[in-house]
Structures are given as structure tokens and as C-alpha cells.
Assembly symmetry: C2
DNA sequence: ATGAAAGCGCTAACAT
DNA sequence: ATGTTAGCGCTTTCAT
């Protein structure tokens, strides 16, 4: 096998044996100062530690893993990092896992089930002890993979008590219902729904089902790119509608902000001329003008719950229960009661 | 050692020997169907593959790593995921690394050098072959760590040809100079500078140095939290200034958007009453109203460049050169020429 | 308190 | 085309 140059440094990394030889002790002793320093005499210990420093010895993770059977890290698969909502989820997940002494490794899937399988494979290859997924629409190959590796796997961003995987998340149907219900209570009966691509996105689909379940409203659905630009686009379409909707329910804050900005540019007054409601509750949503009313999705709590579930699964063999977290309506300035007809 | 339950599944994972035995072949043959399937007879191969499926065998990453000396993944350390700028960088980095057959593992440091050391340690522990850092301000322990592990390490978001680490990034000083220079050319001589915490943030410090290097301007510096709220805060402070600055240069788009929204709320017309300039060029910046003029920071190219550098370092032993990427002024709507005095 | 030696699961020579 | 075998770097009995 060709010699692998892992750095500019040429002389290959020192190993246990090198240290043992240099310190004039056995490998067992060196291993002991590494793992249970108190079980070795102070003199020897200090000597060995000195040699370890001199030789710049770092234990091989692989060799450790092979012996302990543990790598102590879990993998997370998210559609994209380019959405603050996942960032916040991951931050919470990472923190909670840390309490179990578990590290987190993140991969992005671009919302593509095949990429997800590839990335999952990589994660398993490098030794992930568990997987945390987003959403519930996954390629069959993914399930085979995790089953084959007997890998604890958790789905999030979704609540589905009877699915193939334990899920921790909010009920997207309910979240969407809250959204439309609120608008209805404010007197709106002609509502435009702005949402991202439905294709392969189970969360979006669930939300739309939630919307449709509320009757007594005339809906106009706008499917656009999941981006600010998409939101702007939707705003244009909506303004051209006859009769014009009195409110816009966006299935994501990113979309809602795109809508907001475009309406502002067109000098359509919000919420006087038209109401806008978001979903997610991003950090920025509180600071838009007007401040965005939205459905808060509990992603931080979801991250913490997922972390606990995985931690207990891995450390105590506790199979997680499906866990449902409640979305919450946040009323700010972008939705108004409908006055005149 | 206590038996580790890695899943609900109880019977321990099958290994190469189990497969070999069940298939009636040697471990070498099984290893071959795994790594060079063509070198084994179709019959045997298919048989072995069948057994692999039945036994749900997945090769141990650790054992592989120990033999090949390779884990094929690199670690990246970023301050936070909660900023689109890092998300875009990471996406580009991940894609480029993939071309080298290298996976990416991300950890967040919260801009804290000590956390960075901890996270770096974890990354090395799980077998990262290289590290990609953000910024150049790092704890000494970090350098010791990477030196000890002889780990290829790259710093980004910064250009510093003579530093301890190879760097790939833009010159933050130049970026800030471009910002102020542009405002100056538009006739502004009283400028407010809005920036995040200077403490431990080398990029911000460099930018401020860039600002100060341009003379003929009266500056007012506003240090605020790095957030939309921080930007809003700064806007309030600036409006109270006597005489009022004619332009605001923000050292980040997040801050600039905070400023924009607050000014809008206060009905201060942009750019008529005051000009606002950002830095970063986030996806949203193009869609604000008015559209944000800003200094584009080439984070995507930076991600690609970093990926290539690390890939070539790892795969071909090529030590990277420091690489400098140019920021670029994007003029949109939020900055105007100063007319009346 | 320390050492010798047997593996962990795999890959890669080297044989056949 | 397939098998045998010697490790990879470490942890862990079991002796001493």
C-alpha cells in the first residue's frame, strides 16, 4: 500500500508502541496512563506523559473505536443549512447531545432522497452511532441501510406516531390549520396560500392538507421557489388576482418576508390593504416592518427533544416515543381584522 | 467490558468472519467482494452478497480506517450556522470536497476559541483528516493540537499570507475600505460605522482598521450585538447623533438589514435622508426594500477554493498557498449621491 | 504497579 | 480465483 502522507510532516505519527519504547515501559502501561492514570505510579506516569508530549502522540480514533465499539457521535441529515430554521434546530440538538458526551455531525441533502441515502451512507461509513433525519419522506434504500446497520434512527420536523421511524416534531397539519384559522377569525374569507415546491416535501404537503381542511374560505394557492424571490413572485401573482385576497398565509417565513418586501416596494400597505401571516418564526421576523405575525414552530425544543431521545437510546437502550410539540400563534403587526367588505 | 447495545437489535453485528463462515469462503474473498467485486467469480460473488444481505452485514468503519489509515472526511469549524454567510461557504466546501471523495463534518464554535479547541479535539478524535477554520484568531492550544496530530489545517474568511496557517479568504481590510471609499465617492463625509462585537473577532477588527485607514471622513462607531436587533439599536443611536451622519456603513448585511427595517419603521427615507451600505451580500439583501447596496464577499468561491486546497493537500501532498479573493461592490438602491450640503 | 499476549474487524501481501 | 496470514493501533484480561 502506498505510503499515505497525512501532512507536511514526514515521519509517520507515533503510536502506542513508539511511546512505550521511548519511555521504556510496555504498551499496556501507556494505555493505562491514557485511560486510568491513577492506576500507574506517579513517576512512571509523568515520564510517560512527557514522552507522549515529546513524540506528539495522539491516540488513533479508529483503533479506539474498534476496541470499544463506540465512536460517540451521531449524524444529522438536513435539507439545507441555508435556512435559519435548521440552523436553530441543529444548535439545540448539538447542545443536548453534548450532555450525553455525544458529538454531532451534519450533512445536507438538498431535499433529495437519493442524496440523503448517499450522505447517510457516508455518515455510517465514518461511524455514526445514530441518525437524525428531517421529515418523513425518505427513499426505501435509506430504511434498508439503517436496518442493515441496526442504526438507531429518528425522524424530526414531523409528527407521525405510527410511521416506520420514531418521530419527534410538530404536527404540520395543525400548524397550517392554526394559520388559516387565525385569518378566518380576523374576518378573512379570501386567502392566498404561498408555499414552496410540493414535490418530495412532505412537510409542505401536510401543511397544505391542513389548510384545505378548514372550509368556509376561498383559497388561491401559489406554489413558488422556496426563497425570498419566490415570495416576491407570489406577491405579484396575488396582486393580479380578481377579486384580490384580503390575506396571505405563507407556509414559511422566508416566503412571507419575500412577500412583505415586494408589497412594500409596490406601496401596498400592510396590514391595511392586505394581511400577511408567516410560519416558522425566524429571528428576523420580529424585526421586519411591519413585524411579521407568524406561527412559531418549536424547533429549539425539537432539537433538545431529539437529542434526549437519541442520547437515551444510545446510552440506555431506551427506544424513543413519538413526541409532539405544539406550534404557537405569534401575533405581531402584519395581520389585521378585516373591516370593510 | 460491558456489552454495548447499539440498537434494539440484540444479537451483535455480523463481521467479516461471520459472513465468510456462512458463505463457506475465506475472509479475503468477502473483503474482495466488498472492495474489488470484479476480482471474484460471479457465482461466489453473488453468493457472498446474498449472505451479506441476510446477515445485514455492514463493514466497520473503524477497522477500515485502521487499515487504510484513511477516514476520508475533513472537519470544518464555523462560529455559527445561524448566519447564511457560513451556510453558503459550507455548501460550496462540501461540494468541492465531494469531488475528491471527501466528506465534510461541521462543528460550531460560537466564536469562542476555547469551544473551538474542544470541537477540534472531537473532530480529531473521530478521525478528521484535515481541519478548516474560520478566521485567524485561535487559541494557542488549537495550534498545539493540530501540530501534535500533524493535521492539515486551513484558515478561511481571512487573508494573511504570513500567518501560522495557510489562509484562503478575502482581505477584510480591503473590503471595509471599498465600503467607505464608495460612500466617500458619493459625497458622504459624515459616516456611521455599525459593527458587531470586536472582542475575539479578528474579521471585525480588520474591517475597522480598513475603515480608519480612509481619512477625510468623520466617523461615528456603533458597536452592537451581531443581530437584526443590534442593527435596529444602532439605527436609533445614529438618528440621535448631532450632526446626523449622511450615510451608514454596516460591517455585515445582518446589521444593515436591522438598520434598514428600523429606519423604515421610523419613516426615515432611504437613501434620500440617509444612505445605508452593507457587507456580505446575503440572499435576502437583493430583495429588501430598498434593495441593499453592499460589498459582496466571495464566500462561495472561498468554499470551493478551500475544498480544492484541502483536497490537494490530502490527496497529493500539495501544501496550499495563501489565496486572496476579491470583494466586490454591489450598488443597488440604498446608497445615493449626497446632493445638498 | 507493570508486563505479556490475545484479540477487535478488517485489508493486503503472498501463496496456491 | 481463492485461501492463509500478518499486521493496523489500541484495550484488556491474566500473570507476575
Amino acid at each position: 500500500m502506498a505510503e499515505f502522507m497525512r501532512a507536511i510532516g514526514d515521519k509517520k505519527r507515533a503510536n502506542l508502541r513508539d511511546v512505550a519504547k521511548a519511555a521504556g515501559v510496555s504498551v499496556a502501561t501507556v494505555s493505562r496512563v491514557l485511560n486510568s492514570p491513577n492506576s500507574v505510579a506517579p513517576n512512571t506516569r509523568e515520564n510517560v506523559q512527557r514522552v507522549i508530549g515529546e513524540l506528539r502522540f495522539t491516540p488513533s480514533a479508529a483503533a479506539r473505536a474498534i476496541n470499544s465499539g463506540r465512536t460517540r457521535f451521531v449524524g444529522a441529515l438536513v435539507p439545507t443549512l441555508d435556512n435559519a430554521i435548521f440552523a436553530r434546530f441543529l444548535a439545540a440538538l448539538e447542545n443536548t447531545l453534548a450532555e450525553f458526551g455525544l458529538a454531532l455531525v451534519v450533512s445536507t441533502t438538498g431535499e433529495d432522497p437519493n442524496t440523503e441515502v448517499e450522505k447517510a451512507k457516508s455518515l455510517i461509513d465514518i461511524g455514526a452511532e445514530a441518525l437524525v433525519l428531517s421529515g418523513v419522506a425518505h427513499a426505501p434504500a435509506l430504511f434498508e441501510l439503517t436496518k442493515a446497520a441496526q442504526l438507531p434512527t429518528l425522524a424530526t420536523s414531523y409528527f407521525e406516531p405510527d410511521g416506520p421511524l420514531p418521530t419527534i416534531g410538530y404536527d404540520n397539519i395543525v400548524a397550517a390549520q392554526m394559520s388559516v384559522q387565525h385569518l378566518l377569525e380576523q374576518g378573512h374569507h379570501r386567502i392566498a396560500i404561498v408555499h414552496g415546491p410540493v414535490h418530495r416535501n412532505d412537510r409542505t404537503r401536510a401543511r397544505l392538507n391542513g389548510v384545505r381542511s378548514i372550509s368556509g374560505i376561498s383559497y388561491s394557492f401559489q406554489e413558488v421557489d422556496f426563497s425570498f424571490e419566490g415570495g416576491a413572485q407570489a406577491a405579484d401573482n396575488i396582486l393580479a388576482l380578481e377579486p384580490r385576497p384580503t390575506a396571505i398565509a405563507c407556509m414559511s417565513d422566508v416566503l412571507a418576508i419575500g412577500v412583505l418586501q415586494r408589497l412594500q416596494r409596490l406601496e401596498v400597505s400592510i396590514p391595511n390593504e392586505i394581511s400577511v401571516l408567516g410560519m416558522d418564526d425566524l429571528p428576523i421576523s420580529e424585526h421586519t416592518f411591519p413585524a411579521l405575525s407568524t406561527i412559531h414552530l418549536p424547533v429549539k425544543r425539537m432539537g433538545a427533544a431529539a437529542g434526549n431521545a437519541v442520547g437515551n437510546w444510545l446510552e440506555h437502550g431506551v427506544f424513543p416515543n413519538a413526541e409532539k410539540l405544539e406550534p404557537k400563534l405569534i401575533t405581531r403587526e402584519s395581520v389585521a381584522k378585516l373591516r370593510d367588505q
